[in-house]
Amino acid sequence: MALSLPGLPALADVPVRIRSGSAEGTATTVGAAIAALCLTWLLYEQVLPFSGALGFWLFWYALFLVMYAALAVLQWDRLEAVSRVTSVAFATAGALAIAIVVATAGYALARGWQAVEHVSFITTTMQFAGPLSPLAQGGVLQAVVGSIEQLGLATAFSLPLGIAAALFLAEIGGPLARPVRTIVEAMTALPDLIAGMFVYSLFILSLGFAQSGIMAAIAISVNMIPIIARASEVVIRLVPGTLREASYALGSSQWRTIWNVVLPTARSGLVTAVVLAMARGIGETAPVLFTAGFTKDLNLNPFSGPQINLPLYIWNYVHIEGEVAADFARGFGAAFVLVILVLILFTTARVIGGSAPGQLSKRQQRKLSKEGQRR
């Protein structure tokens, strides 16, 4: 309410901000963390016969919880202390998730820089480079091209099928929907390797095709379809039923309603689902092991001849060869490029998916108001 007393400025109607932390709460956490760090250094490094970085931090974490519990019992009653200790434990689990992402992606970026700082690493292939060539010679061009072409083909296969399956689950339903939904969910966590074995046995062993980019794309799309279908179904279900009913009330048929109302309303969420699935698809290694084939040369045609991609490049240079330092450096260089591509796809998905179904972006609002003025 806007109270205006004489002599005072009008109070705006802003809600009172409830602070979630308190000074003594923060001080307790920080104090326990520092005390545990010092004690861990003393015990772990100096007194006890332990070694290894992982052990150090596990030891620190256990000590930290004990210290925090002791400090909490000193200040608060038992119930409050238990609640505080559990909330700190849960918060550290959240921090652990962030730490894992930063550690894995960051490590690939940091180690990969050694190779990527040579510009030729991105712009040349391994055609004229052997294992003992310096890093300034040879690169990942053929793998980048392969990854992008295979991902494009895989998306072309899995996008229509995945979204159509999601529409079936969300808009049509019926007795068939239950087994389809169960299988879709089971397939999202299916071993990636199985998709590669399937394509290998069906297309390569039974039908006699050779290993090529399109075989890899089919294998990747087997893994992408369930991911797209599952995420899209959730998004389509968020479209308000009133919009559908309004469309039906105006006399439109079901396919008109889905095509002109449901899909455009859910557009941003659908794009997010597809781009996230692409981010997963570009990093798939196991499905392409048997299907893409290996080559050191640039192959622009995904329909004939072996076509390598980034994960396979890493697999080959680090796991199969992995003899000299340059192999590892090239592998990490490819991981650098792969992580960057995944991050680009992921950020795109986040930016597009920021809005809820039906919520218009600034650009769409401008377009609508311009059309409104014209009439």
Binding site: E80, T86, L96, L176, L190, A286, L338, V342
Partner: protein, 334 residues
């Protein structure tokens, strides 16, 4: 309505039934519905085709060995002495180690995200979990092999020295670095990180559906935040937790690349998980698929079939458990 016209008698005769509705879709609708239904069925067809072709390719192996493939613990290709019993226990051991780490950690992170985190932090964490799911498995493999493994060895040797009385941590080899490298235990740790996003995102969704009324009731009775989580959120999400752990199990069993990078190959199952050496169905297939010609490959497909059947059953059960835990609104009341 006749009820209004005839008054009380209509209530007694119960003629207030809804009129039957006939719905005749137009031909374009019928085609459209057929297309969508076809897309739905195609998912079933793909799964069926995977099963069919794994069976077809592995027929020679089943013919030669019969069901002894399931019980033989040796990996001699084409010599009537091959079975997944040498591979499956290690696959399961890796998955169990991974779950033993990922379930508690993932559960705690999910509780933090859905119950404790301030809104801004929650958005960041949800994005981070999605990103964690999108980090390629080969990047995890590189990280686990080059970064994590050297840093785990000290903990390994501590476990062997002080918890060696527990059979699985018993260590029979000399305590050198070489004997700790590439163990089932280290592979399990790396796979745990890859399973975590599945567990976190599923548990988070289930927890956030815990009814608001019961939460407020718990607070009104004087519960602390933890008391509310323990008495309302966790019991409500129990089947979701079980389902997500099962889905994580399926994912862990099927992990290929990270396991291949870490493990030092070994042809027999060794339940001393800290000792160097191990194998898994996925690693065996990925490493040897081009090695043994058409005879050997049918054995690998037999192993793949066992893996596929196992994960499909585990994942389907998990999907059923999870769907049962959700309210009808989110999955449709069909």
């Amino acid at each position: 309505m006749s009820a209004a016209a005839t008054g009380v008698s209509a209530v007694l005769t119960h003629d207030d039934a809804p009129r039957p509705i006939y719905y005749r879709p137009s031909s374009s609708d019928r085609i459209f519905r057929g297309l969508l239904r076809g897309a739905g069925i195609s998912v079933l067809v793909i799964t069926g085709a995977i099963l069919l072709f794994l069976i077809l390719q592995s027929l020679p192996a089943w013919r030669a060995e019969g069901f002894r493939i399931l019980t033989t613990a040796a990996l001699l290709y084409g010599s009537k002495d091959f079975g997944v019993a040498a591979l499956l226990p290690d696959s399961i051991a890796i998955a169990v180690i991974a779950l033993a780490i990922a379930v508690p950690a993932g559960l705690a992170a999910a509780i933090y995200i859905s119950e404790y985190a301030p809104p801004g932090m929650r958005r960041v964490l949800i994005a981070v979990i999605d990103l964690l799911a999108a980090v390629p498995s080969i990047v995890f493999a590189l990280w686990g092999f080059e970064f994590l493994m050297p840093r785990v060895l000290g903990t390994d040797s501590w476990l062997a020295q002080h918890l060696g009385f527990i059979p699985i941590f018993h260590f029979r080899l000399p305590y050198t670095e070489q004997n700790f490298v590439g163990s089932t235990f280290i592979a399990g740790i790396v796979v745990a990180m890859m399973v975590m996003p599945i567990i976190i995102s599923l548990c988070r969704q289930v927890f956030s559906q815990a009814p608001q009324g019961e939460r407020e009731a718990a607070y009104a009775l004087g519960a602390t935040r933890w008391g509310m989580v323990r008495t309302v959120v966790l019991p409500f999400g129990r089947s979701g937790i079980i389902g997500s752990a099962m889905l994580g199990m399926g994912r862990a069993l099927g992990e290929t690349v990270a396991v291949s990078f870490i493990l030092v190959p070994n042809s027999t199952f060794n339940y001393h998980v800290l000792e160097s050496g191990g194998n898994s169905i996925t690693d065996e297939i990925a490493t040897h698929v081009f090695d043994f010609g058409s005879d050997g490959i049918s054995y690998l497909f037999a192993a793949g079939l066992v893996l596929f059947a196992m994960t499909l059953i585990i994942n389907s059960l998990a999907a059923i458990v999870i769907n049962r835990s959700r309210s009808g609104a989110s999955t449709g009341a069909d």
